[in-house]
Protein backbone atom coordinates (compact mmCIF):
# COMPACT_ATOMS: atom_id res chain seq x y z
CA UNK A 1 0.00 0.00 0.00
CA UNK A 2 1.33 3.42 -0.93
CA UNK A 3 -0.15 6.85 -0.52
CA UNK A 4 0.02 10.04 -2.52
CA UNK A 5 -1.98 12.75 -0.76
CA UNK A 6 -5.53 11.41 -0.58
CA UNK A 7 -4.87 8.69 -3.15
CA UNK A 8 -4.28 5.18 -1.81
CA UNK A 9 -2.65 2.68 -4.16
CA UNK A 10 -2.51 -1.11 -3.92
CA UNK A 11 0.25 -3.09 -5.62
CA UNK A 12 -0.91 -6.68 -5.41
CA UNK A 13 1.70 -9.29 -6.25
CA UNK A 14 3.82 -6.86 -8.27
CA UNK A 15 1.02 -6.21 -10.75
CA UNK A 16 1.55 -2.46 -10.51
CA UNK A 17 -0.13 0.06 -8.28
CA UNK A 18 -3.90 0.28 -8.64
CA UNK A 19 -6.15 2.92 -7.17
CA UNK A 20 -8.28 2.19 -4.12
CA UNK A 21 -11.44 4.30 -4.15
CA UNK A 22 -12.70 5.09 -0.66
CA UNK A 23 -16.25 4.02 0.12
CA UNK A 24 -15.72 4.65 3.83
CA UNK A 25 -12.66 5.20 6.03
CA UNK A 26 -12.16 1.41 6.12
CA UNK A 27 -13.76 0.11 2.88
CA UNK A 28 -12.30 0.70 -0.56
CA UNK A 29 -13.26 -0.32 -4.07
CA UNK A 30 -10.41 -2.06 -5.89
CA UNK A 31 -11.39 -2.45 -9.53
CA UNK A 32 -14.64 -4.05 -8.50
CA UNK A 33 -13.50 -5.96 -5.45
CA UNK A 34 -13.72 -4.57 -1.92
CA UNK A 35 -10.62 -4.03 0.22
CA UNK A 36 -11.47 -3.67 3.90
CA UNK A 37 -9.07 -2.62 6.64
CA UNK A 38 -9.42 -3.66 10.26
CA UNK A 39 -7.31 -3.43 13.35
CA UNK A 40 -5.62 -6.15 15.35
CA UNK A 41 -4.94 -6.22 19.06
CA UNK A 42 -1.26 -5.35 18.62
CA UNK A 43 -1.94 -2.14 16.66
CA UNK A 44 -1.53 -4.00 13.40
CA UNK A 45 -3.82 -3.70 10.41
CA UNK A 46 -5.80 -6.52 8.85
CA UNK A 47 -6.62 -6.44 5.18
CA UNK A 48 -9.56 -8.39 3.86
CA UNK A 49 -10.30 -8.54 0.16
CA UNK A 50 -13.84 -9.45 -0.76
CA UNK A 51 -14.04 -10.94 -4.24
CA UNK A 52 -17.14 -12.14 -5.95
CA UNK A 53 -15.86 -15.68 -5.48
CA UNK A 54 -14.53 -15.46 -1.94
CA UNK A 55 -12.53 -13.55 0.65
CA UNK A 56 -8.76 -13.24 1.08
CA UNK A 57 -7.18 -12.10 4.33
CA UNK A 58 -3.74 -10.56 4.84
CA UNK A 59 -2.09 -8.61 7.64
CA UNK A 60 0.13 -5.58 7.77
CA UNK A 61 2.50 -5.50 10.72
CA UNK A 62 2.59 -2.13 12.45
Amino acid sequence: MTQEGTNLWFDYDGKGKELLVALSPTRFSWTGSIVEFGTTGDNGVNITIHYVDGTEVGARRK
Binding site: M1, T2, Q3, E4, G5, T6, N7, L8, D11, Y12, D13, G14, K15, G16, K17, E18, L19, V21, A22, L23, S24, P25, S29, T31, G32, F37, V45, I47, I49, Y51, D53, G54, T55, E56, V57, G58, A59, R60, R61
Partner: protein, 298 residues
Protein backbone atom coordinates in the same frame (compact mmCIF):
# COMPACT_ATOMS: atom_id res chain seq x y z
CA UNK B 1 -11.21 15.35 -28.05
CA UNK B 2 -13.06 12.19 -29.02
CA UNK B 3 -13.27 13.05 -32.70
CA UNK B 4 -10.69 11.90 -35.23
CA UNK B 5 -9.80 14.44 -37.86
CA UNK B 6 -10.82 13.33 -41.35
CA UNK B 7 -7.88 13.45 -43.73
CA UNK B 8 -7.02 11.68 -46.96
CA UNK B 9 -3.75 9.88 -47.29
CA UNK B 10 -3.82 7.90 -50.51
CA UNK B 11 -0.25 6.70 -50.28
CA UNK B 12 -1.00 5.35 -46.83
CA UNK B 13 -4.09 3.57 -48.15
CA UNK B 14 -2.07 1.94 -50.89
CA UNK B 15 0.53 0.89 -48.35
CA UNK B 16 -2.21 -0.49 -46.15
CA UNK B 17 -3.61 -2.53 -49.01
CA UNK B 18 -0.19 -4.01 -49.67
CA UNK B 19 0.24 -4.67 -46.00
CA UNK B 20 -3.16 -6.34 -45.72
CA UNK B 21 -2.25 -8.57 -48.64
CA UNK B 22 1.01 -9.48 -46.95
CA UNK B 23 -0.85 -10.26 -43.74
CA UNK B 24 -3.31 -12.49 -45.53
CA UNK B 25 -0.40 -14.40 -46.99
CA UNK B 26 1.41 -14.61 -43.67
CA UNK B 27 -1.70 -15.29 -41.63
CA UNK B 28 -2.63 -18.16 -43.87
CA UNK B 29 -0.53 -20.17 -41.46
CA UNK B 30 -2.18 -18.95 -38.30
CA UNK B 31 -5.79 -18.75 -39.40
CA UNK B 32 -5.88 -22.49 -39.89
CA UNK B 33 -4.15 -23.17 -36.57
CA UNK B 34 -4.34 -26.88 -37.20
CA UNK B 35 -0.70 -27.90 -36.98
CA UNK B 36 -0.68 -28.70 -33.29
CA UNK B 37 2.01 -31.38 -33.67
CA UNK B 38 4.18 -29.48 -36.13
CA UNK B 39 7.47 -28.19 -34.74
CA UNK B 40 8.28 -24.59 -35.58
CA UNK B 41 10.62 -24.85 -38.58
CA UNK B 42 14.10 -23.38 -38.45
CA UNK B 43 14.57 -23.36 -34.68
CA UNK B 44 17.76 -24.76 -33.12
CA UNK B 45 16.86 -27.75 -30.98
CA UNK B 46 18.26 -29.64 -28.04
CA UNK B 47 18.98 -33.37 -28.22
CA UNK B 48 15.54 -34.08 -26.77
CA UNK B 49 13.91 -32.14 -29.60
CA UNK B 50 12.84 -29.15 -27.54
CA UNK B 51 13.64 -25.68 -28.91
CA UNK B 52 17.00 -24.35 -27.74
CA UNK B 53 15.76 -20.98 -26.52
CA UNK B 54 19.22 -19.99 -25.26
CA UNK B 55 20.89 -20.38 -28.65
CA UNK B 56 22.27 -17.18 -30.20
CA UNK B 57 19.76 -14.87 -31.83
CA UNK B 58 19.40 -15.59 -35.54
CA UNK B 59 20.37 -13.12 -38.24
CA UNK B 60 18.91 -12.29 -41.61
CA UNK B 61 20.87 -12.73 -44.82
CA UNK B 62 21.87 -9.06 -44.67
CA UNK B 63 23.39 -9.47 -41.21
CA UNK B 64 20.62 -7.85 -39.18
CA UNK B 65 19.08 -9.50 -36.13
CA UNK B 66 16.13 -11.60 -37.25
CA UNK B 67 13.16 -10.74 -35.07
CA UNK B 68 10.72 -12.91 -37.00
CA UNK B 69 8.48 -15.27 -35.13
CA UNK B 70 5.45 -15.57 -32.90
CA UNK B 71 5.86 -13.55 -29.70
CA UNK B 72 3.99 -12.78 -26.52
CA UNK B 73 4.62 -10.29 -23.74
CA UNK B 74 6.21 -11.91 -20.74
CA UNK B 75 6.36 -9.03 -18.29
CA UNK B 76 3.17 -9.39 -16.28
CA UNK B 77 0.39 -6.87 -15.87
CA UNK B 78 2.27 -4.07 -14.13
CA UNK B 79 2.07 -1.50 -16.92
CA UNK B 80 -1.03 -2.81 -18.61
CA UNK B 81 -3.02 -2.13 -15.46
CA UNK B 82 -1.42 1.23 -14.82
CA UNK B 83 0.98 2.80 -17.30
CA UNK B 84 1.94 5.35 -14.62
CA UNK B 85 3.05 2.64 -12.17
CA UNK B 86 6.41 4.38 -11.82
CA UNK B 87 5.07 7.94 -11.80
CA UNK B 88 3.43 10.04 -9.12
CA UNK B 89 -0.09 11.44 -9.32
CA UNK B 90 1.51 14.88 -9.47
CA UNK B 91 3.18 13.85 -12.76
CA UNK B 92 -0.25 13.48 -14.37
CA UNK B 93 -2.25 16.54 -15.48
CA UNK B 94 -5.16 17.02 -13.05
CA UNK B 95 -7.81 16.78 -15.79
CA UNK B 96 -6.26 13.53 -17.00
CA UNK B 97 -6.23 12.11 -13.48
CA UNK B 98 -9.92 12.99 -13.24
CA UNK B 99 -10.60 11.01 -16.43
CA UNK B 100 -8.60 8.11 -15.01
CA UNK B 101 -10.62 8.28 -11.76
CA UNK B 102 -13.90 8.28 -13.71
CA UNK B 103 -12.84 5.22 -15.71
CA UNK B 104 -11.78 3.47 -12.51
CA UNK B 105 -15.21 4.02 -11.00
CA UNK B 106 -16.79 2.64 -14.15
CA UNK B 107 -14.60 -0.49 -14.04
CA UNK B 108 -13.50 0.03 -17.61
CA UNK B 109 -16.93 -0.23 -19.22
CA UNK B 110 -15.71 2.09 -21.99
CA UNK B 111 -12.33 0.41 -22.29
CA UNK B 112 -11.00 -0.80 -25.61
CA UNK B 113 -11.59 -4.39 -24.50
CA UNK B 114 -15.21 -3.80 -23.58
CA UNK B 115 -15.97 -1.84 -26.73
CA UNK B 116 -14.11 -4.30 -28.99
CA UNK B 117 -11.74 -1.61 -30.22
CA UNK B 118 -8.02 -1.87 -31.02
CA UNK B 119 -5.77 -1.54 -27.99
CA UNK B 120 -3.48 0.99 -29.69
CA UNK B 121 -0.38 1.69 -27.56
CA UNK B 122 -1.61 -0.80 -24.96
CA UNK B 123 -0.62 -3.65 -27.31
CA UNK B 124 2.87 -2.95 -25.96
CA UNK B 125 1.91 -3.94 -22.43
CA UNK B 126 -0.90 -6.47 -22.65
CA UNK B 127 0.01 -10.11 -22.16
CA UNK B 128 -3.32 -11.22 -23.59
CA UNK B 129 -2.35 -10.79 -27.22
CA UNK B 130 0.12 -12.78 -29.29
CA UNK B 131 1.71 -11.22 -32.33
CA UNK B 132 3.77 -12.37 -35.26
CA UNK B 133 6.71 -10.34 -36.52
CA UNK B 134 7.30 -10.58 -40.26
CA UNK B 135 10.57 -8.91 -41.20
CA UNK B 136 11.80 -7.63 -44.53
CA UNK B 137 14.61 -5.10 -45.13
CA UNK B 138 12.15 -2.28 -45.86
CA UNK B 139 9.09 -3.19 -43.80
CA UNK B 140 8.51 -4.98 -40.51
CA UNK B 141 4.98 -6.14 -39.80
CA UNK B 142 3.44 -7.01 -36.47
CA UNK B 143 0.26 -9.02 -36.88
CA UNK B 144 -1.82 -9.48 -33.74
CA UNK B 145 -4.10 -12.39 -33.03
CA UNK B 146 -7.13 -10.08 -32.95
CA UNK B 147 -6.56 -9.14 -36.58
CA UNK B 148 -4.91 -5.77 -36.02
CA UNK B 149 -1.48 -5.00 -37.40
CA UNK B 150 1.36 -2.51 -37.23
CA UNK B 151 3.48 -1.45 -40.18
CA UNK B 152 7.00 -0.36 -39.26
CA UNK B 153 8.54 1.28 -42.29
CA UNK B 154 12.30 0.67 -42.59
CA UNK B 155 12.75 2.48 -45.91
CA UNK B 156 14.19 5.64 -44.44
CA UNK B 157 11.02 7.72 -44.38
CA UNK B 158 10.37 10.10 -41.50
CA UNK B 159 7.24 10.39 -39.40
CA UNK B 160 4.73 12.93 -40.61
CA UNK B 161 4.55 15.95 -38.31
CA UNK B 162 0.73 16.04 -38.22
CA UNK B 163 -0.63 12.64 -39.27
CA UNK B 164 -4.25 11.59 -39.42
CA UNK B 165 -4.79 9.98 -35.98
CA UNK B 166 -5.33 6.22 -35.97
CA UNK B 167 -5.66 3.48 -33.36
CA UNK B 168 -2.28 1.96 -34.15
CA UNK B 169 -0.40 5.11 -35.09
CA UNK B 170 2.39 5.34 -37.64
CA UNK B 171 5.79 3.78 -37.16
CA UNK B 172 9.23 4.07 -38.72
CA UNK B 173 12.25 2.03 -37.73
CA UNK B 174 15.98 1.80 -38.08
CA UNK B 175 18.83 -0.29 -36.71
CA UNK B 176 21.26 0.86 -34.09
CA UNK B 177 23.75 -1.99 -33.90
CA UNK B 178 21.74 -5.04 -32.92
CA UNK B 179 18.77 -3.02 -31.70
CA UNK B 180 15.69 -2.15 -33.73
CA UNK B 181 14.54 1.37 -32.89
CA UNK B 182 10.88 2.11 -33.67
CA UNK B 183 9.41 5.58 -33.42
CA UNK B 184 5.66 6.12 -33.59
CA UNK B 185 3.14 8.94 -33.53
CA UNK B 186 -0.33 9.66 -34.83
CA UNK B 187 -2.36 7.83 -32.16
CA UNK B 188 -5.99 8.76 -31.71
CA UNK B 189 -6.90 10.20 -28.34
CA UNK B 190 -9.94 7.91 -28.30
CA UNK B 191 -7.52 5.22 -27.18
CA UNK B 192 -6.34 4.57 -23.62
CA UNK B 193 -2.76 4.00 -22.53
CA UNK B 194 -3.71 1.18 -20.15
CA UNK B 195 -6.62 -0.89 -18.96
CA UNK B 196 -6.94 1.40 -15.94
CA UNK B 197 -7.95 4.27 -18.21
CA UNK B 198 -5.08 6.74 -18.44
CA UNK B 199 -5.72 8.97 -21.43
CA UNK B 200 -3.37 10.02 -24.18
CA UNK B 201 -3.24 13.01 -26.48
CA UNK B 202 -2.52 13.13 -30.17
CA UNK B 203 0.91 14.52 -29.26
CA UNK B 204 1.96 11.11 -27.93
CA UNK B 205 5.32 9.89 -29.25
CA UNK B 206 6.44 6.33 -28.57
CA UNK B 207 9.96 4.98 -28.95
CA UNK B 208 10.62 1.25 -28.73
CA UNK B 209 13.99 -0.46 -28.65
CA UNK B 210 13.90 -4.18 -29.54
CA UNK B 211 16.93 -6.29 -28.66
CA UNK B 212 16.78 -10.02 -29.26
CA UNK B 213 18.89 -11.56 -26.52
CA UNK B 214 18.76 -15.10 -27.87
CA UNK B 215 16.38 -17.36 -29.73
CA UNK B 216 13.71 -17.33 -27.06
CA UNK B 217 13.80 -13.87 -25.56
CA UNK B 218 13.61 -10.27 -26.66
CA UNK B 219 13.82 -7.12 -24.55
CA UNK B 220 11.67 -4.14 -25.43
CA UNK B 221 12.45 -0.80 -23.85
CA UNK B 222 9.59 1.65 -24.27
CA UNK B 223 9.51 5.41 -23.82
CA UNK B 224 6.22 7.27 -24.13
CA UNK B 225 6.33 11.06 -24.26
CA UNK B 226 3.08 13.00 -24.03
CA UNK B 227 4.01 16.27 -22.36
CA UNK B 228 0.54 17.78 -22.42
CA UNK B 229 -0.57 15.06 -19.98
CA UNK B 230 2.48 13.49 -18.37
CA UNK B 231 5.18 15.71 -16.89
CA UNK B 232 7.77 12.96 -17.24
CA UNK B 233 8.40 10.40 -19.96
CA UNK B 234 6.84 7.02 -19.23
CA UNK B 235 9.59 4.44 -19.49
CA UNK B 236 9.52 0.73 -18.90
CA UNK B 237 11.02 -2.54 -20.09
CA UNK B 238 8.85 -5.34 -21.39
CA UNK B 239 10.38 -8.77 -21.95
CA UNK B 240 8.73 -10.78 -24.67
CA UNK B 241 9.03 -14.50 -25.24
CA UNK B 242 9.05 -16.56 -28.43
CA UNK B 243 6.08 -18.90 -28.72
CA UNK B 244 7.38 -22.16 -30.14
CA UNK B 245 5.80 -25.26 -31.66
CA UNK B 246 2.44 -23.58 -31.79
CA UNK B 247 0.52 -21.30 -34.09
CA UNK B 248 -1.49 -18.17 -33.54
CA UNK B 249 -5.19 -18.56 -32.96
CA UNK B 250 -7.83 -16.04 -33.83
CA UNK B 251 -8.87 -14.02 -30.83
CA UNK B 252 -11.53 -11.63 -31.97
CA UNK B 253 -13.96 -9.63 -29.91
CA UNK B 254 -17.66 -10.22 -30.18
CA UNK B 255 -20.79 -9.32 -28.25
CA UNK B 256 -18.99 -7.57 -25.42
CA UNK B 257 -21.83 -5.07 -25.37
CA UNK B 258 -23.88 -7.73 -23.62
CA UNK B 259 -21.40 -7.66 -20.74
CA UNK B 260 -21.25 -3.88 -20.80
CA UNK B 261 -24.98 -3.62 -20.33
CA UNK B 262 -24.59 -5.44 -17.02
CA UNK B 263 -21.60 -3.48 -15.74
CA UNK B 264 -22.46 -1.34 -12.74
CA UNK B 265 -20.40 1.75 -11.96
CA UNK B 266 -19.61 3.01 -8.49
CA UNK B 267 -22.05 5.80 -7.77
CA UNK B 268 -20.53 9.19 -7.06
CA UNK B 269 -22.57 9.32 -3.87
CA UNK B 270 -20.86 6.15 -2.64
CA UNK B 271 -17.41 7.74 -2.68
CA UNK B 272 -16.10 8.85 0.70
CA UNK B 273 -13.61 11.61 1.36
CA UNK B 274 -11.00 10.09 3.65
CA UNK B 275 -8.24 12.21 5.13
CA UNK B 276 -4.59 11.61 4.34
CA UNK B 277 -4.00 10.95 8.04
CA UNK B 278 -6.43 8.03 8.06
CA UNK B 279 -5.03 6.65 4.79
CA UNK B 280 -1.49 6.77 6.18
CA UNK B 281 -2.43 4.02 8.65
CA UNK B 282 -2.82 1.59 5.77
CA UNK B 283 0.49 2.32 4.04
CA UNK B 284 3.13 -0.39 4.00
CA UNK B 285 3.66 -4.00 2.94
CA UNK B 286 1.60 -6.92 4.11
CA UNK B 287 3.27 -9.66 6.14
CA UNK B 288 3.60 -12.08 4.52
CA UNK B 289 3.19 -10.52 1.08
CA UNK B 290 -0.16 -11.21 -0.51
CA UNK B 291 0.48 -13.07 -3.73
CA UNK B 292 -1.81 -14.69 -6.22
CA UNK B 293 -0.41 -18.10 -5.28
CA UNK B 294 -1.27 -17.59 -1.62
CA UNK B 295 -4.94 -16.91 -2.14
CA UNK B 296 -7.20 -19.10 -0.07
CA UNK B 297 -10.84 -18.30 -0.30
CA UNK B 298 -13.16 -18.62 2.66
Amino acid sequence: MEKARPKTRLSGQRASLSVCFAIVLAAGISLEAQWIKLQTPGLPRLPDGKPNLSAPAPQTSDGKPDLSGLWSNDGGDRYYNNITADLQVSDVAPWAHEIFMKRQLEFGKDSMETLCLPLGPAYLTTRFREFRIVQTPVLIMMAFDDGMHRSIFMDGRSLEPDPNPTWMGYSVGHWEGDALIVESNGFTDRSWLDFGGHPLSEALRVTERYTRRDVGRMDVQVTMVDPTIYAKPITFSMPIALQTDTEMLEGFCENHHKSRERMVSTKAGDIAQVSAVVLSRYVGPTTPPMTAGSISFT
